[in-house]
Symmetry: C2
């Protein structure tokens, strides 16, 4: 087994050494540490797979800096639960991947492997870029607004945000606990399902991904369709055309969910100000203007307004459960369009706020190419708790979509 892991370490290190100087997906990695870990790695379901750990997740052997100068050089004494689970299943931890500051908007140095002048998206910037460049097999990622879906779409890879609470949050820096969700970025649905079998609980589960054709797919332009660029509009149209050759496809009207975006902002601002109370009180001068603005906004929200938003969010969750009685899966935009230029930020989260608020699982699938030749993904949504079913549907949809991701710079 350690022979296998050692070979894997050599293979991935070669890719990192070749591509990392340009991509800058890692906040830290250590070839010596990696070769040493490869000698002692466990045998298991994930043997031979390399993991990149988003740098809001604690690790013993690499610094954990949350994308913030407040935590420059910071080390924890333990691994987050998810890292321990993956290691115990045989995965090799390659290092930490770049996050935006506290998984919010202030970008790190990572560029998009498809176009170095473009953002990889945020906040799971490094995990998405490293998977796209073939430097890791599993990128640990997280989402509070659109931090997993958007970089997966921009980098042309698969993003899986499971149902809220499915993976352990222990050892992960939180931003807004009503939404914070750990997930994965991978090259395909099969690898996401493999990681899911380990991360979903203590029992080492057998993997049983069964690509499944859904009976009814609902297409959601969403109430924010006017913010979709031509690349995303064309992708959703083409996807619907391809899918309706096989299954029933209908437009779903989500106009009653239009309040979701504002509710999401209210809850996130309030909770972020609570969660980052120490940083705000004791290290404010080291916070970026972007996150300071979020926290200041949180302070202007009263408890009663916040509480009312939580109640309204629950009502929307009941509403989407009704819609999933009619559709096996929903298909929706993953981002407004192709990756923006670096100077324009990490992109708009508008097409994920609703789904994050609803806490339902989502698989972002690559499969389309935009007007500038860059990847455009779409997201498949499932009912809360129906994660296995969603992965099975996604594995089938993956075979229908035209473009299959391969590690970018290889081509």
């Amino acid at each position: 087994m350690s022979k296998n892991a050692s070979e894997q370490a050599v293979r991935l290190l070669a890719r990192i050494e070749r591509h990392e100087p340009q991509i800058q997906a890692f906040s830290s990695y250590d070839p010596a540490r990696l070769r040493q870990d490869a000698q002692t790695v466990s045998d298991g379901v994930l043997s031979g797979l390399g993991v990149g750990v988003k740098d809001i997740i604690d690790t013993v052997h690499y610094p954990t800096m949350y994308g913030s100068p407040i935590y420059s050089g910071h080390h924890t004494v333990n691994d987050a639960a998810c890292v321990a689970q993956l290691k115990a299943a045989g995965a090799l931890c390659l290092g930490k991947t770049v996050t935006t500051e506290f998984a919010f908007f202030q970008a790190g140095p990572t560029v998009n492997p498809h176009d170095f002048s473009r953002t990889p998206g945020g906040s799971s910037s490094g995990s998405a870029a490293a998977v796209a460049a073939g430097m890791i097999d599993i990128g640990l990622a997280s989402q509070t607004a659109a931090s997993l879906t958007r970089p997966a779409s921009y980098c042309g890879v698969v993003g899986f945000k499971p149902s809220y609470g499915r993976y352990a949050a222990a050892g992960i820096k939180g931003l807004a606990p009503s939404f914070d969700t750990l997930g994965t970025i991978t090259i395909d649905v099969a690898t996401a399902a493999l990681a899911d079998s380990i991360l979903k609980g203590p029992l080492p589960a057998s993997v049983s991904l069964k690509p499944t054709t859904p009976v009814r797919i609902g297409i959601c332009q969403t109430p924010w369709w006017d913010q979709a660029e031509p690349s995303t509009r064309i992708a959703l149209h083409n996807a619907a055309t391809l899918l309706q050759k096989h299954v029933s496809v209908e437009e779903v009207d989500l106009s009653t969910f239009v309040t979701a975006a504002d509710l999401h902002v209210t809850i996130m601002s309030y909770e972020a100000c609570q969660a980052l109370a120490w940083e705000y009180a004791e290290r404010k001068s080291l916070l970026s203007p972007q996150i300071t603005k979020l926290l200041d906004a949180g302070r202007d929200i009263t408890y009663d307004v916040y509480r009312a938003a939580l109640v309204d969010a629950e009502k929307l969750r009941a509403g989407i459960a009704e819609i999933f009685k009619q559709y096996d899966v929903l298909l929706a935009p993953a981002a407004p369009g192709e990756a923006p230029r670096l100077e324009d930020g990490t992109g708009s989260p508008i097409f994920s706020r609703l789904w994050t608020l609803l806490r339902i699982p989502t698989v972002t699938l690559p499969g389309f190419v935009g007007l500038n030749g860059l990847p455009v993904g779409l997201q498949l949504l499932g009912a809360f708790g129906a994660d296995e079913a969603l992965l099975n549907f996604a594995a089938w949809v993956e075979t229908v979509f035209p473009f299959r991701p391969v590690p970018v710079i290889c081509r």
Copy 2:
């Protein structure tokens, strides 16, 4: 302001120096640090109040050891959000209070201030004992099963576990995230309400505790009444007799909630095994037999069984919401009886598993004395999210109950 805080520091230090050698409520405190903090403490709503921080909660200036030898001497670089919030409001942090191992059952050295041969209860052992002995004003505490309610009852003090999610969990070691809830232990409801005004969110709120007479109180013997000892049975009977002089009091049948105890154990075991994945994988030899047994049990639960338990728990939550349409508050046992002897452990959590599963707020009120002359508390329960109303009702009930807590050893 710093004069006030300095005087307060001197007063509390004198009490700690007098009582701590016997009570052993603190896992760490530092008189020099305390005097220094008193010089720089903020002015605010909590000025002049001393806080003890349960040692599953991160603090910069004191070690954070989670009651486990794995983390002996462990320091974090930041304060948990709740600690930062209390400090920013003027509270003085006196040190860390003893927790059982990872807030489960393996007891620390703390004794019950009312009888040194008895347990203070667990897991918030130190916070409850320190409040009872007048060494702190606010004890930060937490509950995953009965870890706040039970020590409050055993030590004759007020315990407030708010609605799930009301206080920030950032920087607190988790055990079972579906249940883990931060709360407070205090000498009275007014102090709990004061702390609540700060902990519930970023906005410094004005405190407006208004003792309120409820119209209808439901008395809950609960499905576990056969495990109630005479001391608790008499206390509940006497409380009902006292209350019905003022308000409508009715027995509530909770027999349809009998599954809650098993559901709670299933969910807690599964999630604990996920949350403590690193300790289980990498430091198993340093775990106590008690927590090892819990984690081993978690590994025997499949995801499907766990998921079904989550769905059943949601149904029970909907069921209790119906009951709160008929009653303003419920009154129920807080523990089987008086504090057990030290050699018999930290007591049974049976009378809190239901309420923790339901995620509703609870105020444990002292007020009764058991057959051995030790405190017996009862808990008042409110509807989810109705925390202010519950505190207001509790402030009135507090005036009706016969026994008022005073710092124990003073008397």
